[in-house]
Symmetry: C2
Subunit: 270 residues, 2 copies
């Protein structure tokens, strides 16, 4: 999916909502456990229920890998289902991969070509040749970790170089030499919403994937006010706050209501 397609979907829906499919077998409704593939059944229902309010879906690969082969099968079915039934929705493999060039190329192949996600999240520590192979795949996106929303973000991301530039700022600056606003986005933790204005000055045109609205505690209003640009330029993720709001028979309906509530709030800023 290219930028223009993503932007037009955002403007049509007046939403930048990304629904995180962090699907955990211990948290999904009991009544699904008798299904052949409970994880896929759950995802399918959530996807269909929230597709009118969301512009992106983001399965977190760890939740699938932790179930081994059957987990990978659920992941394959989930992305295939989105691509078939809701091709207008942007897809993110939240995989946080990154390795030397020939290895990153394999990961890019796995997620962007074989599974056919639109994008994959990538860790920056290993530098240019660990990121480039993802960027080299046409019509796909790399979402590089910039500033994350967890407590450990304090450990290294805020370390300032001699000239005062913090590590996350260096990542945002330097990686703009590797990709463009047409194929590179950044993960920016919402709990650092006070930093968003500053981050926008470093990357005015790039899309930002903002995790952590909801369970991780960020403020939606702050993110919309400081992060939105002319093309939208934001994808705001919510996972647990939507998908696990009810674990009864009505789980999909309740998820739809939660997604709608967030999308309605977002619409105020368009």
């Amino acid at each position: 999916m290219n930028r223009q397609q993503l932007t037009s979907e955002i403007k049509r829906k007046k939403s930048v909502l990304c629904v995180g499919l962090d699907t955990d077998i211990t948290k999904i409704p009991q009544h699904l456990l008798g299904e052949e593939d409970p994880i896929f059944s759950f995802n399918k229902a959530i996807i269909d229920a929230t597709a009118d309010f969301a512009v992106a879906f983001k399965p977190n690969t760890a939740f699938y890998e932790s179930r081994g082969l059957k987990g990978w099968k659920s992941l394959e079915k989930t992305i295939a289902y989105i691509n078939q039934k809701h091709p207008e929705i942007f897809t993110i493999a939240d995989a946080k991969r990154g390795d030397i060039g020939n290895t990153s190329k394999m990961y890019a192949e796995a997620f962007l070509n074989n599974l056919a996600f639109d994008s994959v999240t990538v860790a920056p520590y290993m530098g240019v040749d660990s990121v480039k192979p993802f960027l080299d795949i046409p019509n796909k996106w790399t979402i590089l970790l910039g500033l994350t929303s967890n407590t450990g973000a304090q450990d290294f991301q805020f370390t300032a170089a001699a000239d005062g530039e913090k590590l996350f700022e260096q990542v945002l600056r330097k990686s703009q030499e590797w990709g463009t606003p047409e194929n590179l986005m950044y993960v920016i933790g919402a709990t650092k919403a006070d930093h968003l204005k500053h981050i926008r000055s470093i990357v005015p045109n790039h899309f930002l994937l903002v995790p952590g609205v909801g369970a991780q505690g960020g403020s939606l209003a702050d993110v919309m006010k400081n992060g939105l640009n002319a093309d939208g330029g934001l994808l705001i993720n919510s996972s647990r706050g939507i998908i696990y709001k009810s674990n009864g028979l009505d789980f999909a309906e309740v998820a739809a209501n939660e997604a709608k509530t967030l999308a309605d709030e977002m619409a105020n800023y368009f």
Copy 2:
């Protein structure tokens, strides 16, 4: 596997050789392609041929993920085979994972408990809560990226903070508060062998996993001289230089010879 078991195997074999199972369907001998699972058949032969000279095996997960479900099946069979036939050999899932706490916990579960690897490689960018869940699994190891061997290592890892401390030094220093030499190792690129002496002064007791001897160009002698400590303290990886040395019917025999040559060189330093 605990440190004492690993060390006694190193001393018995006078080897710190790790064989990297970067198994690529396009590079394995043609005659294996008719097998039910060519990747597993190749790995099995390499494992049996090199087990006398190696103390560790390291499948690189990207090579398996890039083949989807059948790749994961090959990976599962490979680790199960090593654990069953060569339980004295240390196993590394070279996965370079790392995410917020609840997600890293899922990855730790996937690789250390379910697949039953002894260790997994982890990226440090997201800090303490992205690393801790791996360290929390008893009798298992986390191998944190310190200084990598690729060109992109220059981009961020050498950035110096105001006090002169480089990012990779900060990672080595800070992470010692999270784990101990009994459950934490570091990836240290061999092509930076001149840095090894300095790195040993920061982490005198930890094991170092050194990729890049061979195809990535590091010098074995430099690494042995500057990296070895009383417990061995090193795992030196070679992948392509061993496993793809021949792609004829004799591939396993040739791999064994290559592994033996490296192990013989290593024995000089014990």
